[in-house]
Symmetry: C2
Subunit: 676 residues, 2 copies
Amino acid sequence: MKTDPAWLPDQAFRAIGTRRVVVCGGDGPVVRTVVDEVTRACARYGGRVWHGTAGSPDADGADLLLVLTDLDCLPGEAAAVRAEIAPGQPLGKEGYALARPAGATVVVADGPAGLLYGLFHVARLGEAAFDGWRPLEVHRPASARRMLDHWDNIDVHPVMGQVERGYAGGSIFWRAGEPRDLHRVREYGRLLAAIGVNAVAVNNVNVHATEARLLTDRLGDVAAIADVLRPFGIRTHLSVSFASPMVLGGLPTADPLDPRVREWWSSAVADVYATIPDFGGFVVKADSEGQPGPFGYGRTHADGANALAAALSDHGGVVHWRAFVYNHRQDWRDRTTDRARAAYDHFAPLDGQFADNVILQVKYGPIDFQTREPVSPVIAAMPSTSVAVELQVTQEYTGQQRHVCYLGPLWASILRFRPWGPDGRAVASVAGDGGGLVAVSNVGDDPFWTGHPLAQANLYAFGRLAWDPFLDPLDVLDEWISLTFAPCPSVLRSALHEIMDSSWQVYESYTAPLGVGFMVNPGSHYGPGVDGYEYTPWGTYHFADRDGVGVDRTRASGTGYTGQYPAPWRDVYESVASCPDELLLFFHHVPYSHVLRSGLPLIQHIYDTHFDGVTKVVEMRRRWAEIADFVNAARHARVAQLLDEQVRCAQEWRDQINAYFFRKSGIPDARGRHIH
Amino acid sequence: MKTDPAWLPDQAFRAIGTRRVVVCGGDGPVVRTVVDEVTRACARYGGRVWHGTAGSPDADGADLLLVLTDLDCLPGEAAAVRAEIAPGQPLGKEGYALARPAGATVVVADGPAGLLYGLFHVARLGEAAFDGWRPLEVHRPASARRMLDHWDNIDVHPVMGQVERGYAGGSIFWRAGEPRDLHRVREYGRLLAAIGVNAVAVNNVNVHATEARLLTDRLGDVAAIADVLRPFGIRTHLSVSFASPMVLGGLPTADPLDPRVREWWSSAVADVYATIPDFGGFVVKADSEGQPGPFGYGRTHADGANALAAALSDHGGVVHWRAFVYNHRQDWRDRTTDRARAAYDHFAPLDGQFADNVILQVKYGPIDFQTREPVSPVIAAMPSTSVAVELQVTQEYTGQQRHVCYLGPLWASILRFRPWGPDGRAVASVAGDGGGLVAVSNVGDDPFWTGHPLAQANLYAFGRLAWDPFLDPLDVLDEWISLTFAPCPSVLRSALHEIMDSSWQVYESYTAPLGVGFMVNPGSHYGPGVDGYEYTPWGTYHFADRDGVGVDRTRASGTGYTGQYPAPWRDVYESVASCPDELLLFFHHVPYSHVLRSGLPLIQHIYDTHFDGVTKVVEMRRRWAEIADFVNAARHARVAQLLDEQVRCAQEWRDQINAYFFRKSGIPDARGRHIH
């Protein structure tokens, strides 16, 4: 089967391809990408292209599209647009301005990347970009770093496979120990450019033996990928092992303060930049789930991160240092230890100690990419540190690309959250000032890229929200639908919205209730396992007994985690009365009789949401069946098959969760439905 | 580290090695083994050996040991012993007689295997074999077939590894796709000969692609093993795929009634016997846990087994056809389906339809090698079928060779069980008449053979109980201690008995209570996972709720499984009042307040046994520490380390089980101990 074009089918370039297009932006790989795009579109749809100063468009004919950085080469309309932009507000190297003064749509940028993003913006607008007069729009990314981490292994890992937590086939980079033909990577780069992603890490944060060598004798494999991604404005990053000086360098230590270690990193990094001049930097998972780190040498994480940062700083590289550090050998009997506290406890005291080119990469929630978690308190705790917020596009805990679960609304809720209250800054602003947004990619060698064809929307939404976190996630979904299913009949559009708009909430409704998290099968993390993690060392418990359920994280009687938030949240979360219901069981242990804001007792809420969730999934499947005529047959078949699995699995969740809580509570369903 | 000699240290042959030994038994590989054994022993300890008619012992000097089959070669003392054996009771090809008329210990056999077993019997007796006068003893095996199945894979299986459910390192037969050097197999054969095992299957009953080929193009690997085992009186068997005619033969079907399929089996079997003339036969797991079988063609298991049996019958081979057939995709919501019923429901109606050389291989219990199960009702349901009882020496569910768990008492209780009541035959008698005893081996390439050095006792006990199921399992343990730790000081002997005698009951006390089974972690089957299988398709549930626990398998209100037993057990098990407490939760769902014969409520029994079990394991560890001076240092260290793990794991069991039932029941411990 041919690879699915995702959100860049030929149709997406129809509006551009019928125009006379002038690209006036010098040269270089990114500009060549712009020229190639418009040239292909015009060849297909009958438009014409001029590039640079070679010739000039004829005066008559269709609308002009001017895409330019170099104002001297075609001053007329473009100069006017450029002049409108306030001089104190530079576009920056990735920003662009769009306007349509009269008869010509003009994209102005100050550099090749802006040109590229401007072109894809015109593609998103389609005919609307050429429709009458348009006022000046200026677009700049909210964050300078918009990154995808691939948890791809070079060797097939005996447990985790080719891609750790991958649900879309093999890796697009690696197969069974070797680099792959990179034609898919080129297509991937193009898709990412269209959504504004500008950084990719090409290997798993759990760095195994073979993967460690990407830093040294297998650097050529990384350079080949970087060459393919560079024309799409994407810098390539590498996950490295903190123990590299020992594993690769033969040193007796990886102590970050040891001069030999620092020298080794400097030398290794110099070699990297000699090969890949625009190399992005490192991603490091240290002292986490078995990975080595500075604790082994009695050093802090600032010591560890700064050692690598020092090596990178002369070359413009950064260290993405993950804050996902916790005790994964916890004793489940010990109710005083709280995994949710761990990242804050480890990192908040280090604020101010990190080098400028260290980016602390913080998962959005304090636990681990659950369907519902409060925002991590670390984000508000590091004012003197660059913080990147890490999301998970790959659906580890949200249906593993077998369930429809559009994550845009989840991410929007995180990015818009204001840790200091309604008058304070939003999470998006903290990330924008510092490290930006990072996400674990959901892409593999599956023909649909993401296993579930509708999971493409999550990748799309990540890029778009990383560029502008205040976009309405349902508008972003609509963009994705318009491009992917172009030309999209309204019957299809409305069905897709019905299926996808609330799919995250639907998924939540039939899985773990009210923020309690981790009721999945151990290991795979797919499907229900209510007690699956209850007596394990992983620190992920719900404490259900015959009387109630939930984790007391209050200062008054629990683990004190609420105290890691600034006001007002430290108080909002502290009290059952003010804690939002959707996070109730994350913060409080309450009896099954506890009455929620809906007026329903907790136990009845659990029963109702689980019955309703399944009903909604069945309805999703019915809606999808109705639109078979409007969707490509292969895509329709794949989604239909997966919806069958989603119905089955949702029923399983419903029945296990309801049976579990009925057996514990002994309270029957008030509506008399059968509980097993 | 050198391979541990297990129960055959040099010391075990001291008594023999100091004698003048005459071996008078013709020739052949097994007789050569006997000669080799005594020659080695005499070389070490100063004795002398005569073989056959070559020379004759001098008249004076130490005691004579005569080991002979050929009465003509040395008639004197031997003829007298032979004459004592009743003419109507032949020794058979494996039996032997022992006596010590005057100044000479005489072993008489009618064939080489009997000679071999008689020699090892003298080794077990040690000096006692030469101590004054001994009356005539006649020894014959209770079962003609005493077999070990190896669940060893040729290729390392991605999930199950080199040995499925193996806890002793790699396979002694295979490594990473290739046969191994067979010196360990030779040692293994010798150990097995010493305990009377006479059949070995060399590959896993789950037959994967490479393993299937042992039947055809990799037959040479099997022949090499057979050559090594033959001198120890052991016939080699093979697990085969029912789909072999398709997988290996390229046929479009494996339908057992298709003439092409029958022809293919005939031809394959003829090739096997041309290569391995004493080949034992096949082991088949069909229509079970994903393995192919006759159901795929609408045929019965009798049809399936008989097709293979027909091919083997001309050559003296047998088919071990496993009765482990059940629906492993059960719906946990469906309480009418009962996995315990499955083997009986499938096979009882087929009694009388199996060919003579089919042996139906039945697991001892109806579920799957649990620490406590009732005896399988299939054993009493097949009077016209040869039935082999299958035990599991490898400790899949009994501590995985990290816990001390001497299984002799468990097996003795099964073998002595009388399905038709106290006046009927015992299980051992049914097996003895038919297919004998089979067990899954616990041996790997670990230097101690079995991972846990004390787990050697289980392998020893299997062989000895297969030979004589009415031996006292604690006497067998004492035999093993005497040989393995020879010369064994009494302080060591008593410590080992204290640690091992009740270790099965101790293991039971801290794991799943009262026969309820399956509270283990899914997949690995190690450590507690109370709800691990509760909502799975595997048919292994305990149905605990806030009021009670257990599976109602009565005819009156449950699955009707009790009706598969003949009287009196069908009635004994049916009633809570008469059902033995140790199987209570296997047969009945009872409230936590149910009072056991001990006078304790069920919930208190659960708490007490789990606290007590840990106390006993701690005591085991203390006892082991005390005897450090009497045990080889490497062996002591290994056991000490494993006892630490056993303490840890027993605590984990105690705390999870107690916490689980406390959270469900809300009933506190009457003795006020802390429950998490």
